[in-house]
């Protein structure tokens, strides 16, 4: 079996994988980083969003072998020494999650949104940019508020 090597949340990891292994399977099953979720088979829901070389990507549609040498950040890599990232803090403060299953993907997408669109995000930008992430609990109301607040807080911190 081929070997894949990548840096995940700052740690260099290497493993033998079947060629058909998806990045999300590698993260969840090989590394036991179960914060990245799978909500669909068709790249619609965004629960599996992680950062690959700094860009938001859906890890259910990437082969692990395609990420050879890549730097990956997952939801587990955001909080530093137990202190929540401002975007995580904003989701908590604004009740931007209920069941929490879509939340890791939402937060990773939100950070990618800030990277691309800046810290000053208006409602329609957030809503439009979030169309690749589905939530069934919140009606998106508090998620949008959380992302706006989190983006602003990142500017201050």
């Amino acid at each position: 079996m081929p070997v894949v090597t990548m840096t995940v949340n700052g740690q260099r990891v290497s493993a033998e994988v079947e060629g058909r292994t998806l990045l999300v399977q590698f993260l969840r099953e090989h590394l036991r980083l179960t914060g990245t979720h799978v909500g669909c088979d068709t790249s619609q829901c965004g629960c599996c969003t992680v950062h690959v070389n700094g860009q938001g990507m859906k890890s259910c549609t990437l082969l692990a072998l395609a990420c050879e040498g890549a730097t990956i950040t997952t939801i587990e890599g955001l909080a530093v020494d137990g202190k929540l990232h401002p975007m995580q803090e904003a989701f908590h403060e604004h009740h931007g999650l209920q069941c929490g299953y879509c939340t890791p993907g939402m937060i990773m997408s939100a950070l990618d949104m800030v990277r691309r669109k800046g810290n000053d995000l208006d409602e329609s930008t957030v809503r439009e940019q979030l169309s690749g992430n589905l939530c069934r609990c919140t009606g998106y109301h508090n998620i949008v508020k959380a992302i706006q607040a989190g983006a602003a807080a990142m500017k201050r911190s």
Binding site: E18, R20, R28, R32, L33, T34, G35, T36, H37, V38, G39, C40, D41, T42, Q44, C45, C47, T74, I75, E76, L78, A79, L84, Q88, F91, H92, E93, H95, L97, Q98, C99, G100, Y101, C102, T103, P104, I107, E123, S124, V126, R127, E128, L130, S131, N133, L134, C135, R136, C137, T138, G139, Y140, H141, N142, I143, V144
Partner: protein
């Protein structure tokens, strides 16, 4: 009790305790369980809507590398597994009773966890392939040869109920499993005869599904030495799931342990035992190792319990002034292939007339079986459907007879003085300020300023419409709940309760209750819900029962703890118990500085040598209570939409909701529940449908590319307001909040869409109000050629 229960945490928007783990990826959902030695399974499902299973050849599959075992319905039969113990008829005392008109019992048929002779819907599981990996199991499944003989099938609701429809069950007289009537036919017909106006409405509240973001997943395990099964499976509740799995396995309930931690959504979808959960437990015994299965999304669409699917034909009679005189009609609910639940029909019918004065009704109510996945309660069992019908009838009456929509509602809306009110379906509403909620919602939604916004939209080439809908919801879930509360010497309070959270935030809300009533910080309360070796009794989260039942048992148990604690504290302080009062977590002696804290008392309870038997051990109490009285959430929603006449596309641009919860424990969570509920209702109104092709019986909406969900860019910010008129049928005044968002949302969104199209004389648009349907309505064309789904 209301005053005594006043406190510091209750009523506050306390931020959730569960968030810390969930925002850092440390939640534990069902697929996150990894049991040592586990094998992986996939289910083979029928590709036909109705077929005889003539033979299953597993030989080639067993030769696929990594495949361990294939189990079929014939193996299940040989091993003597029992049917899933569904009880399709809800029996809550507060509900409208429904019985077959001919006196026979409702039709039921055994639902076996793997079909052995016949598959009755696309997606019915017929075999399980167990392998070293999911990929190997899939390869094995591809190699299984099944010889089916395809039979005639029927999926559409009214077609299935027809006498000449292909029968789902050969031993039934027809597909109609329940055929009841409710009301007073003579009084209703007389009222219709003298009515000045009669309006008619025929509709289909289409089939939708829960789409919990976390797909179902489970691990079954079996310990040969103890003969015990363990099933790790996120669900609506742990205790009933344990009992149901034990019933299928035909073992005593204590031979099954069910475990769950975080559960990614429910909405009713997870409220009933699933065939797969029992099969995994059995497969683990047969394979001699744990067996894990995780549903893929396409599999969820096929095999998760679905919701709604009610065909209604209704008429409303009014006098010249617009007073409602009577209502009559027929409801047909599509239960799917197995007799899992008739509750949506029953629970909806009971409040068909909503919170309006309705002197007489007569309805025929039927459940039909069909070759589709089964339905069960979905975010307000049967209620959003009937509220939609009532609110559409009122708007149609206003449109056809020249009444003002608001005044027509106000004229017929029950006043506080008329409550409690027994409606003509025999359900008795508690108290409430229905007019107050409606006035507040009209204000919040700026009904008065609408004309100006409509004119402004017109200039931009948009058709703007506004609608309103009143509603009532019921809360007749499982009436028994239990809590075991223990004050621990380490400064924590443990609350064991049989209501599992699927996102509602119980860890926080219940901690607010116990924290307040025991005078301890919210952080020190620990909730235990998802392990049946600890939790012995409990009804799970459904039917608006979570806060309603939890508050009662937590209140009573904490009172008992304080009572016991007072006696111990009196010994410690060497005074009479009557001299002590419990304030802010301390037992204080009247007229002195002396006091002891709750945690000191629990330590003493474990160490003092001279305590009577009933005070020994940690300070703890149990409350196991039955509460049959329902409290009825109510309120009003106002919705505004804009339609693009060129394309027929519609956007919700304004949404205001006023919902009465009796008493708000955590407004942050309540607003969140309402937001999510509105989105699910708006989703049904505009986007969603489980689309079964009538000719083939195939589910065409089998992925998130085909089944349209609301997305962030299809919804606005909502204006939500909480009303608090304490319910007089609940000791703490509480009405449920979880279903309020959805219940009026179907009707209010469609009312707004139809209003936007009023200049074209459009009387109604069916759900989902797709651009095609709206565009056709604007152009005076017939609705899209129907594949006869209704």
């Amino acid at each position: 009790m209301h005053d005594a229960a006043k406190s510091t945490h209750i009523g506050q928007p306390v931020r959730r305790k569960e968030d810390q783990r969930l925002v850092t990826g440390k939640g534990k959902y069902s697929d996150d369980y990894c049991v040592p030695g586990q094998a992986h399974a996939v289910f083979l499902r029928s590709p036909h809507a109705h077929a005889m299973i003539k033979s299953i050849d597993v030989k080639a599959a067993l030769e696929v590398p990594g495949v361990i075992m294939v189990l079929t319905g014939a193996d299940r039969l040989a091993d003597g597994l029992k049917p899933l113990p569904h009880n399709p008829m809800s029996t809550h005392k507060a509900e409208t009773p429904l019985e077959n008109s001919d006196g026979t019992p409702p039709f039921t048929a055994p639902h076996y966890p793997l079909a052995h002779d016949r598959a009755r819907y696309v997606g019915e599981a017929v075999a399980i392939v167990i392998a070293e990996s999911v990929a190997a199991a899939k390869d094995g499944a591809d190699a299984v040869e099944i010889d089916y003989e395809v039979l005639p099938a029927v999926t559409a609701t009214l077609a299935a109920a027809a006498p000449d429809a292909p029968k789902v069950w050969d031993n039934a007289k027809s597909n109609v499993g329940l055929d009841a009537v409710v009301g007073d036919r003579a009084a209703t017909d007389a009222a219709f005869k003298r009515a000045k106006h009669v309006v008619k409405f025929e509709t289909w509240a289409q089939r939708v599904t829960g789409v919990t973001m976390e797909p179902r997943a489970a691990v079954g395990a079996y310990d040969r030495e103890s003969g015990r099964y363990t099933v790790y499976a996120g669900s609506g509740g742990a205790v009933k799931l344990k009992q149901d799995i034990a019933a299928v396995l035909d073992v005593p309930a204590d031979k099954v342990r069910v475990l769950m931690d975080d559960v990614g959504g429910n909405f009713g979808t997870r409220g009933e035992v699933y065939p797969e959960f029992a099969v995994l437990a059995w497969a683990a015994r047969r394979a001699g190792r744990p067996v894990k299965w995780t549903s893929e999304r396409q599999e969820s669409f096929l095999s998760d319990y679905q919701g709604r699917d009610l065909a209604v034909s209704a008429e409303l009679a009014l006098d010249a002034d617009g007073n409602f005189l009577a209502m009559r009609g027929s409801n047909v609910s599509n239960a799917g292939a197995h007799t899992v639940s008739y509750a949506p029909l029953k629970k909806g019918l009971g409040i068909m007339s909503s919170i309006y004065r309705m002197p007489a009704v007569f309805f025929r109510a039927r459940v039909t079986l069909s070759n589709t996945m089964m339905t069960r309660p979905y975010r307000s069992a049967g209620r959003p459907e009937v509220m939609y019908v009532m609110e559409r009838l009122i708007d149609i009456a206003a449109f056809e007879c020249g009444f003002d929509r608001v005044e027509l509602r106000r004229r017929n809306l029950l006043t506080e003085a008329e409550l409690p009110y027994t409606n003509p379906f025999h359900m008795t509403y508690d108290n409430g300020d229905y007019h107050g909620a409606m006035d507040a919602a009209l204000k919040l939604g700026d009904w008065a300023g609408f004309a100006q916004r409509r004119d402004e939209a017109k200039k931009r080439g948009r058709l703007r419409g506004i609608g309103l809908a009143n509603y009532v919801d019921t809360s007749t879930g499982a009436p028994r709940e239990r809590t075991d509360i223990t004050v621990r010497a380490d400064g924590t309070v443990e609350v064991v309760i049989g209501i599992v959270s699927q996102g509602q935030g119980h860890e926080t809300a219940y901690a607010q209750l116990a924290g307040d009533w025991l005078g301890v910080p919210v952080e020190s309360v620990q909730l235990i819900t998802g392990d049946t070796d600890i939790v012995k009794v409990g009804g799970g989260a459904h039917g608006g029962r979570g806060m309603r039942m939890a508050s009662l048992v937590i209140w009573n148990a904490t009172r008992e703890i304080i009572k016991k604690g007072t006696r111990i504290a009196a010994r410690m302080l060497e005074c009479d118990p009557s001299m002590l009062k419990f304030v802010g977590g301390r037992f204080e002696q009247d007229g002195s500085e002396k006091s002891v804290g709750l945690f000191e008392v629990t330590k003493a309870a474990q160490t003092l040598a001279d305590l009577p038997e009933d005070l020994r051990g940690p300070l703890a109490a149990t409350c196991d209570q039955v509460h049959h009285e329902a409290s009825f959430p109510y309120g009003t929603h106002v919705c505004e939409v804009e339609v693009d006449p060129e394309t027929g596309s519609v956007q919700i641009v304004n949404y205001a909701a006023v919902d009465d919860v009796g008493r708000a424990i955590n407004p942050l969570l309540i607003h969140g529940q309402v937001h999510g509920g509105i989105a699910q209702g708006a989703g049904q109104a505009l986007y969603e449908q489980c689309f079964y092709d009538a000719a083939s019986g195939q589910l065409l909406s089998g992925s998130l590319m085909d089944y349209a969900l609301p997305r962030a860019d299809t919804l606005p910010f909502f204006k939500t307001e909480i009303s608090e008129v304490p319910s007089n049928t609940h000791p703490l005044g509480i009405r449920p909040a979880g279903e309020s968002g959805t219940t009026p949302a179907l009707g209010v969104v469609i009312n707004a869409v139809v209003d936007a199209l009023s200049e074209f004389g459009v009387k109604h648009v069916e759900m989902p109000a797709t651009p095609e349907r709206i565009w056709r309505a604007i152009h005076g064309m017939a609705p899209p050629a129907s594949p006869n789904n209704r």
